[in-house]
């Protein structure tokens, strides 16, 4: 078991960097390598980082084949309006998934593929379950959900063809310090929109909990989907009140205006966030302990309190005054 090679796609993102730093402490992990278009957010001691944009298929394939991983952790997904506009995010995510999962299929030592997914894959159409479990059918109703469902399908097809286990880890919206999340940005705006007469509940995941779940999935060679969701739930109105923000009731047609105004204010709101605010987003996390052997440390309320706890500007005195 010891000395396993782990490859991380998307190691430059906050979640990828956290996952890599946690994997470095695992005894069963021998060597770690990762790729991303951007360098990791903090110093990694044992991880070899390769700076490759997702469009360079040949370099991606060559790098992965050379490393020949036992475990592939695919975190290289771009949430719309997190760091890229929705169309670009979809294109980058599709390209990365195709080249990385395709290359992994060619690796003779590959044993397991862990895929970062989201609870958006369940969709929030009419009559959809309030709190879907892993067995619920996938019927995404937003672009981000469809992208994630497509990655799951690609990974499952690769796994089936080469005979390795595939474990999709479906996260509730991941929030936390330094996470470029459009949902987190929207909640931190001075005024927070909520759907009047509905204000449905949603759950989130803290980024460290998400990284821990990915590491546990890799350690346990997860072979089936698992929902990773912080316990508890909250509504947009309750979140705005906790953060001392001005709640703005929105009936329906004004969502377009609200998203436009937010875009101008620097917090663009992608459709899956509008869906979360207007239809809610919960998922059953009862199988987390059974499948991963770990549970979230932070509740949804803790995570919301954390995002409002960040100071806007941190002013620190200079250690040496030179002027």
């Amino acid at each position: 078991m010891a000395g396993r090679r782990v490859f991380i796609s998307g190691v430059g993102g906050e979640l990828g960097t956290l996952t890599a730093s946690l994997l470095e402490e695992e005894e069963w992990v021998g060597s770690i390598a990762g790729i991303d278009a951007d360098p990791p957010r903090r110093r990694l001691m044992r991880t070899d980082y390769h700076r490759i944009p997702p469009t360079e298929h040949d370099r991606i394939v060559q790098t992965i084949l050379q490393f020949d991983p036992h475990v592939l952790v695919h975190i290289g997904v771009w949430e719309p309006h997190s760091r890229a506009a929705p169309d670009l995010a979809k294109m980058l995510t599709d390209q990365a998934a195709t080249s990385i999962l395709g290359a992994a299929a060619e690796c003779p030592s590959l044993e397991s593929v862990i895929v970062r997914s989201g609870i958006e894959v369940y969709g929030r159409g009419p009559g959809s379950l309030s709190r879907p479990a892993e067995t619920a059918p996938l019927s995404p109703t937003c672009q981000w959900g469809r992208t994630l469902a497509a990655i799951e399908r690609t990974a499952a097809s690769v796994g089936g063809r080469v005979g390795v286990t595939v474990g999709p880890v479906r996260f509730a919206p991941v929030l936390g310090r330094h996470i470029p999340s459009p949902f987190g940005r929207l909640l931190r705006m001075p005024a927070v929109p909520f759907r009047a007469f509905a204000d449905p509940p949603f759950a989130v995941t803290e980024n460290l909990d998400a990284a821990r779940a990915l590491v546990a999935a890799a350690r346990n060679r997860l072979s089936e989907p698992v929902n990773v969701v912080a316990p508890g739930a909250i509504t947009a109105l309750q979140a705005a009140r906790r953060g001392g923000r001005v709640p703005v009731p929105v009936l329906g047609p004004e969502w377009r205006l609200v998203t436009g105004l937010n875009h101008l204010a620097g917090a663009p709101v992608p459709p899956h966030v509008v869906e979360t605010l207007s239809r809610g987003r919960l998922a059953d996390n009862n199988r987390m302990e059974e499948l991963l052997g770990t549970t979230p440390e932070y509740t949804t309320t803790d995570v919301i309190d954390q995002i409002y706890g960040w100071p806007s500007v941190i002013r620190r005195e200079a250690r040496v005054k030179v002027a």
Partner: protein, 250 residues
């Protein structure tokens, strides 16, 4: 002197520790949590708002004077499905959920949430679940008490058909199914909920027949409980009038 510094663990402390352990271990709020401990200003895993529920229960107290019997039959921590007889427009599942919740000091959910605005979100805040076996299965597996209404009938001493797919969800989740008889009247405030012992399927089955047989058995058990409650029974059309509500507050 060494005895002086010893910490004595009272049962209450053990309960708190157990709740904390369950909370940490299960990844969800502990199933055995007390109604009175629920915080305000947040919703739970299923979107139920304790603050709204408390206000609704106070409001319901103006309309109904509940009395509940047989609550000791219910499990203290794990989930259970409670099946009640219903009458049209009587909001039976709602007041049963409130009555049982008040009696056992645990959140109780009920089946039959609309999926449209504004009724659906309001019902969700009150603890309603969608009428879908997967939704009910998730709640029961999570250790929740869930109230299911049988099909409504015109006669107060009868119970309608019980949805066997929901009973199947309880069987799949490995929880008990309890019959409960309810009486209430539009002309007075008395409302009584009598919970029976868990129903058992008449014979052991390996296939889905168990849920059909268990649903029929639950219905029979509810009618037996209704007979025991001794509501009005003249054998005339007077029986069709909702004059019952016997036992409530008496």
């Amino acid at each position: 002197m060494a005895e002086a510094g010893r910490v004595v663990s009272l049962p209450a402390r053990r309960y708190e520790r157990e709740v904390a352990r369950l909370s940490k271990g299960a990844g969800v709020l502990p199933p055995g949590r007390r109604l009175s401990d629920e915080p305000s200003g947040v919703v739970d895993d299923w979107g139920r708002d304790p603050g709204v529920v408390r206000r609704a229960m106070r409001l319901a107290g103006l309309r109904w004077q509940f009395s509940t019997g047989g609550a000791t039959h219910l499990p203290k921590r794990t989930g259970a499905l409670i099946v009640v007889n219903t009458r049209r427009f009587a909001l039976t599942t709602l007041y049963t959920a409130f009555a049982v919740s008040h009696s056992v000091d645990r959140p109780v959910r009920f089946i039959g949430r609309s999926d449209s605005v504004p009724l659906g979100p309001l019902e969700q805040r009150l603890g309603a679940l969608l009428d879908h076996p997967d939704e009910v299965f998730g709640a029961l597996r999570g250790g929740e008490l869930v109230v299911l209404g049988a099909d409504p009938t015109a006669r107060p001493r009868e119970a309608g058909l019980v949805d066997h797919t929901i009973v199947g969800a309880a069987v799949a989740a490995g929880v008990r199914v309890h019959p409960a008889a309810t009486t209430s009247s539009p002309f007075n405030r008395f409302a009584r909920v009598e919970i029976g012992k868990a129903s058992r399927p008449p014979r052991t089955r390996r296939g889905p027949l168990v849920e059909l047989e268990l649903a029929d058995r639950v219905r029979d058990d509810i009618m037996f409980l209704l007979d025991q409650m001794g509501d009005i029974n003249t054998g005339t059309p007077l029986d069709l009038l909702p004059l019952g509500g016997l036992g409530g507050g008496r």
